[in-house]
Amino acid sequence: MPMKRVISQCLKELMQFQRDRITVALALVLPLAVMLIYGYAIRLESKNIPISIQDFDNSFLSRTYVERIVATNQFVPTPLLRGDPTLSIDWGRAKATLVIPPNFSQSILTQTPVTVQVLVDGTDVNNARVIQNGIRAATQFFLSSSHLLPDRPQIQIVADVRLWFNPGRDEALYIVPGIFGVILWVFPSMLAAIAMVREKEEGTIVQIYASDLSATEWLLGKELAYFMVGVGEAILAFSVAAVLFGIRVRGDPTTLLVGTGIFLAAAVAFGLLVGARAGNQTGAVQGTAIAGFLTALLLSGFIYRIENIPMPLSLLSNVIPARYFILITRDAFVRGTGWSGIGVAPGAIALMGGLFFFGAIRTLRRMQFSD
């Protein structure tokens, strides 16, 4: 009965896993720790950006203007250094300097257009754009609230903007479903790879050679065992996210259930492949774990839009399973459109998982297993 042998191999694997207490603790605590750090610390929208102000005019109007700019929680004023508008940016104390010319209020009163200069620290690309937009919006607001806009423009176009799914622009709603894609890939695959390498390092693989267990049965046993560990991690991650970040499944839960199952299986298969290929070098596993971690983190659209990845690299991102899983989680937790919204994602993950598992079997076949 091959099925029975797979199951007993799986049970043996799980027993061995739970005996190493430190590894068990790390396997459960690490994903949560990563989730907490990412869930709370990654925010892309900048607030409280330090800005220094050089007001050459120092009139009632210019002070009102400055007040308007720092009234939003987007900017906080910070002192100018030695009267030099760029020095505070050079030294990293301010991200921008607003220079108000001496003729500011006079020009406004005589209705001649006046230009204020904004020096922005361009080293931080994301913030630079946010600052540009923020200053322009605040200037507009200053003009309309001080009744300085030309009386009633003749032509007016008003955009009524609606943000779907996330009207409050809560960033956790974007980040947390992405975190699932990172941690449920990295940790199950890493544990499986470590288990594989350990077997070779300690020489216990020789005993398997001697038994009549085939390579496929042995691998399926390991796959099943670490799949179950992964399911445990997934349940833990989903529940903690529900409690701490209020992330709940919207609509049809079957996409999430099926997607998570396929994704975990693919992650474990990837780990087995890495472990099978790595010889007995844990360093190699560590290197691969880091590489896997960074690709799942950075090429999956977890933080920045996947459309921004340029051409040859965007091909690489097409074979990152986390990318497809994040599509599924964002749909399940935020959009809620169900099977119609996720397209080929489950199929793509299953295809890659199958390739990983097949690769692991082929690698092991070259060793001395019984057929």
């Binding site: 750090i37 610390a41 080293t123 322009r136 507009q140 423009p153 779907w164 960033e171 690709t295 921004n308």
Partner: protein
């Protein structure tokens, strides 16, 4: 003088030579020193890009007039938006936004042109996919600005009483790689440094050759110094490799003093070696090193501002990031590579890095010595 003679003693040199040979024999470490840093720098320098451009836009134009077409072309003019589809019914467009096929939708009502002609406020509806909160916010801001500017043009180029002229210093083209590559250099040094040094130390612990070394007359500090010296040289090689890639491929300007950059990178390399040895003393075997290093490196990278800006973190994490050595190195690297500043602007980060170097090396050497005896 006696001390100096001691440092340059034959024994230390032969230990160093032994370590160098061990490393050179170990193809894996050479591989880890060359391959991942190069690949990481290239991939992340190219892939990380927070720009909000070419957002896909779906349009439902019920008005079908010259005015509505002018509005659409104003929106796509500077490439923030890109028309992907024209739909004939609003329901179809809503469906596309819902499934994420388009990021933004614009609905122009049938009476758009008439309202403009009658000088009444003409409303258009904009739907934005809010799943990516940050992009949605920026898209919303752009949408309003563009429409406002378009309105101004329609009102015969009427100028606003106050206009803003924005000048981007240091990186006028806002190249995202200029922001990310200096940060990724720090990330690469952290990962490679802690990985390589923890593997070399734990291997000796695993295989049991550490006990053999202890039998020799070499003192504990000599064993460690001999381990650290070649690692230090190799990791400095990584610094040179990384700056060459940054210079040649990404065209980083390196405006500050390059000698100072090397000096401070050396300081940070020492911090990384300290972290690596600390990891090796915390773990009992190689498997645990792999897991524990995650425990260290993930927060280290995430709080450093190398990947997402520090200004956007909640206040607690912003304060916490001050205790992250990588944050200080990233700030130093960005300042020296992009701005022409010197020690006077960076002293606080240099001070912090020195404290971390002493702290990590001190603690790890101490733990290593107590574990030896």
């Amino acid at each position: 003088m006696n001390y100096l003679r001691h440092i340059l003693s034959d024994r230390l040199w032969s230990l160093i030579i032994k370590e160098v040979q061990q490393i050179l024999h170990n193809k894996q470490i050479i591989f880890l020193l060359l391959f991942p840093p190069t690949v990481q720098l290239l991939i992340f320098g190219l892939a990380l890009n927070p720009a909000v451009t070419h957002l896909s836009l779906g349009v439902v134009d019920y008005s079908r007039s010259a005015d509505s077409r002018a509005l659409v072309s104003a929106l796509v003019e500077n490439q923030v938006f890109q028309v992907q589809t024209y739909e004939s019914r609003q329901g179809d467009l809503e469906n596309q936004v819902r499934t994420g096929q388009v990021t933004a939708g614009l609905v122009i009502p049938p009476d758009f042109s008439q309202s403009l002609a009658r000088h009444q406020p003409a409303h258009v509806q904009v739907l934005i996919d809010g799943v990516d909160a940050n992009t949605a916010g920026i898209a919303q801001g752009y949408m309003k600005q563009i429409i406002q500017r378009h309105t101004q043009t329609l009102n015969a180029g009427q100028r606003l009483p106050v206009e803003t002229e924005v000048i981007f210093l240091y990186n006028p083209g806002l190249l995202s790689s200029w922001f990310f590559v200096p940060g990724v250099i720090g990330v690469v040094l952290t990962l490679t440094g802690s990985l390589v040094s923890s593997t070399t130390v734990i291997r000796e612990k695993d295989v049991g050759t550490l006990e053999q070394l202890l039998m020799t007359p070499a003192a504990g500090w000599e064993i460690l110094a001999a381990k650290i010296a070649p690692l230090f040289v190799l990791l400095m090689g990584d610094v040179l490799l990384a700056s060459a890639i940054g210079r040649v491929i990404f065209g980083l300007p390196f405006r500050g003093n390059y000698g100072l950059f090397l000096l401070l990178s050396a300081l940070y390399v020492l911090v990384c070696i300290g972290i690596g040895i600390l990891l090796a003393t915390l773990a009992n075997n190689q498997q645990q090193v792999v897991l524990i290093s995650f425990f260290f490196n993930v927060p280290l990278i995430q709080l450093s501002g190398a990947i997402a800006p520090i200004e956007s973190m909640p206040p607690f994490f912003r304060a916490l990031s001050f205790f992250d050595p990588l944050r200080h190195y990233v700030q130093i690297a960005r300042s020296l590579i992009l701005k022409d500043v010197g020690v006077e602007a960076l002293w606080i980060h240099i001070l912090a890095l020195s404290v971390f170097a002493v702290l990590f090396l001190g603690v790890s050497i101490n733990r290593f010595r107590t574990q030896l005896s």
